[in-house]
Structures are given as structure tokens and as C-alpha cells.
Symmetry: C2
Subunit: 258 residues, 2 copies
């Protein structure tokens, strides 16, 4: 706990600005999406209708920067290494603190992140290729429609991990235990079937190698929420910077359903 | 399917006004809560924060009476045997059709119902006492606080089923497979511990016998949402009449997480 506390202090004061992958081992990390109250119902409804892409871990009260359930002592305005600010659907600025951008009608949504199920896969002897190759997970836009809600609509974005053929069933079992961090895969094996024509050119992240005896396995990805939200061009939206997650007080294993 | 279709037609035309327990076997039945848009974000957030009591199955678009995911062809204004109408938190009327009460800013929420997990318990050889005794399930107000959201707050209501000591573990396993219909129990064995002082006097439903070698097992109950919503005295709220549920097109087993 000491090291997590120290880490959180360094993030809060702006000293620590790096990606959070592998840090505070065992603690759930979360995606952050901040929108104004006027968009909050539609966004929460979108998440409710698309739980595999957008699993909601916590939602702050309107105007509150505190996530009571997942990190009651943390301030979502300062306790993430880097933020992205979007206006009218366009990226305008990267900052390490959003205190001056905060408004009284804002609502912060914490969504589940695949780091949690990757830790579970590793604990089950299933390697994570993008970690092995030292890059970001490859993410692809698919032809899988999301369920629209109010102003929000668009295709599902998925992340891909190559899995050895004799570990695919176990990978499905392990990740199905964690529906709050995307749960089981949405597809196994055939990129074309879900509208991915070129595995070498992911829309987000970086391509990884798929080796002999492995199949590509696809999980719904939290980037779906950002891509869908930006397409609706809200006047102001704030998110974490990719890979720079919100570290919560909840242990990964607490999200296991059984 | 023929008999379900006939049943739905009888419900729609007002001919069938009885409780739905045991009807359309295998199909998920749902609780209905209709509120105006002004209350919809707070209510959806309350459900998100209290998923054991208020598991959301589907939410209609604002002003739409059609639940696209769970029963796309059914109309929530006509396809339930009986409705209760509440004004300012007070019950005012029981009707078989709410078409004339419908307004363009209404949102209908379908919440999971314990009928689904009771079917799973029965399939596992675990009897349902209130069915055996031909009465409604006993429901009790507890000292377990819900997580408030906006105007909504109040204690959790639970339902109780006596379970034989050698079936308690299996009952936990079976119901944990169905988080969208309240999931695993919230408490096993000690009513006092959760603030229930008199098992003979449930706040809702009817008391049932607890036999030698059985323990009372408590599950979060969807009545929580109604009791919390009514306490906030919305100007207009419409629900199903107790026991007269909305029969959806989704099979119970489809709600199993594994």
C-alpha cells in the first residue's frame, strides 16, 4: 500500500506523467470520460446498452470530482497522470491537471479497463503479446454495431490479443469472470467476419505479431466510448490520455463475478 | 411460441389480468418503472450504483414505449396485465392499459425479476417455499443502505427463501450465474444482522414457514427501486402491479453469465 500511496501522491502533484500499465499491481485501473450533465443520461444509457464495450465502474455525482465507490479519497481532476481535452469533438490539449477546466455541471464516468483481465490471463499462464513486444494493444474498428442511445452511436472498437490454440478456451473462461472489464471475447479467429480487413493497420495502438499456432481473439474495447462520444461532438469532453489510467482503490480480484 | 403469442394477445386486449408467475415458461419476466425524463438520469444512476437491487435489463428511448433489446414488438403501455399509477408518491389507480397516461417525455425501465433465478433453483432441485405455499414471496426492509443517486435514496428491500442447509452453497452458485436478476444472495442465515426483527411480518408479500434444517436466505429485491422512487415523490410514476410482470422475448438462460 505504501508504494501505491506514494505513486498517487506523485501523480497528484504532476511529477508522475507516464503510462500506468504495470503500476500499482493488483489494483483496478479505469478509463475516464467526463461530460456535462446535459449529455450524462444519454451516455450512461449508451453504456448500459453496450456493457461489453463500456462497462461502468463508477459515476460521480453531478459536479463532484469524487468516485465514492472505487476511490473515495481520490480527485478525478488531479489524480490521473495526463488528460486529453476535446472541444466540439476535436482534441485541443493534453494537461496533467484539469482543475481549471472543471465545471459544476460535470459528471465523471469510470469505465473498466482491460488491464484487469490481462492480469488474470497472466496469472493463468496466458502471455500478453503487446506487453512482450513493448507496445500498446492493437485496437480495430469493426462492423459490429453498438446499440445507439440518444445522440451516441457508432461501431464497436475491439482490442486483439493472439492466443495459442490450446489456451483459447481458458482465455474465454478467465475473462468471462470479469464482465466489468469487458468480459469474454466478442469474436475468436476471423478478422474479416467482424469487418477488419487489415490486421497490420489497427486504428488505434500498434500491430503485434501473430505466431504459428495462435489465433487472434477480440475483446470489446473501452475506446468505443471515446470514439462514439467524440463523433457526437459534445462542446466539452475530458478523458484520460491513452494508457494513463485512473488507479482505483479496488482490487482486480474484487471484480470477479464468481 | 404459439401459447406465448396467444397469452400476449390476451394481455394486450385486456382479457388477461392475472399474475404472470408460471406463465410463458422459460421467458424472462421483468419489473417495469416509468418515470419522466427529468428523473431518468438519477434513476438510471441509482440502478447502476445498486445493481443487485435494481438490475437494468432494458431502457426505452425517451418517449418510446418499445423495449428494443428485450421485447422489440411489445408495447409497454398495453402489454402488461395490470399497472399501478402513482402521483406525488401516492398510489392513485390500478389500470390494464396506460396509453392515455403516456407522455412524450417518459422513459420506461425494465428491471430483472427473481422469477428467472427461481426457475434456475427449481431446475437444480431447490424448492421455492412461497410457490409451495401458494403465496407471494416475503419481502423485508433491511438496514442495508443503498448507494444514493440524485434524489433517490433509502434502504434495500430483500426477498427471503428458506433453503435446506445442504443446498445453500448450490443456491448461491445457481443464483450467482444470473446477476441481471439480482444474482447471489446478500445474506445467509441471520435476519437480525440485516435489520429484520420479525420474520412473521414482512413489509411486502406474505410470511412463509421456515422448517427444521433450513436457513433463511436473502436476495436483493426489485421492490427496492419502487420504494426508493416513491419516497422521492415524483409527480408521476407508473409501474406494473405486483406479480403482474412484463413478459419479454428473451429466454431466462440467455441471462446466465457462464
Amino acid at each position: 500500500m505504501e508504494s501505491k500511496q506514494l505513486l498517487m501522491e506523485k501523480i497528484r502533484c504532476g511529477e508522475m506523467k507516464s503510462p500506468t500499465s504495470g503500476l500499482a499491481s493488483g489494483f483496478t485501473q479505469a478509463n475516464l470520460v467526463i461530460l456535462k450533465k446535459a449529455f450524462a443520461f444519454d451516455f450512461l444509457l449508451f453504456c448500459q446498452r453496450n456493457p461489453k464495450s463500456c462497462p461502468v465502474l463508477d459515476v460521480t455525482d453531478v459536479g463532484s470530482a469524487f468516485a465514492r465507490k472505487f476511490a473515495p479519497g481520490a480527485d478525478v481532476r488531479t489524480d490521473i497522470p495526463k488528460y486529453h481535452i476535446y472541444k466540439g469533438g476535436t482534441f485541443v490539449e493534453e494537461v496533467t491537471d484539469i482543475t481549471e477546466h472543471w465545471q459544476d455541471d460535470m459528471v465523471a464516468f469510470l469505465l473498466g479497463c482491460s488491464f484487469t483481465f490481462e492480469e488474470a490471463l497472466l496469472a493463468n499462464g496466458i502471455g500478453i503479446r503487446h506487453n512482450e513486444e513493448g507496445c500498446n494493444v492493437p485496437m480495430y474498428r469493426t462492423n459490429i454495431p453498438t446499440e445507439p442511445a440518444g445522440i451516441f452511436h457508432g461501431p464497436m472498437v475491439v482490442s486483439m490479443r493472439p492466443i495459442a490454440k490450446d489456451q483459447v478456451v481458458r482465455a474465454v473462461q478467465v475473462t468471462s469472470r470479469f464482465p466489468d472489464v469487458h468480459g469474454g471475447p466478442v469474436h475468436i479467429g476471423d478478422p474479416d467476419f467482424i469487418g477488419i480487413s487489415n490486421m497490420d493497420e489497427p486504428e488505434y495502438g500498434e500491430a503485434v505479431s501473430i505466431q504459428e499456432g495462435e489465433v487472434p481473439v477480440f475483446w470489446a474495447c473501452g475506446v468505443t466510448s471515446q470514439s462514439v462520444a467524440l463523433a457526437s461532438k459534445p462542446d466539452l469532453m475530458i478523458t484520460h490520455a491513452p494508457g494513463h489510467m485512473f488507479i482505483t482503490d479496488v482490487k482486480n480480484e474484487m471484480l470477479g463475478i464468481l
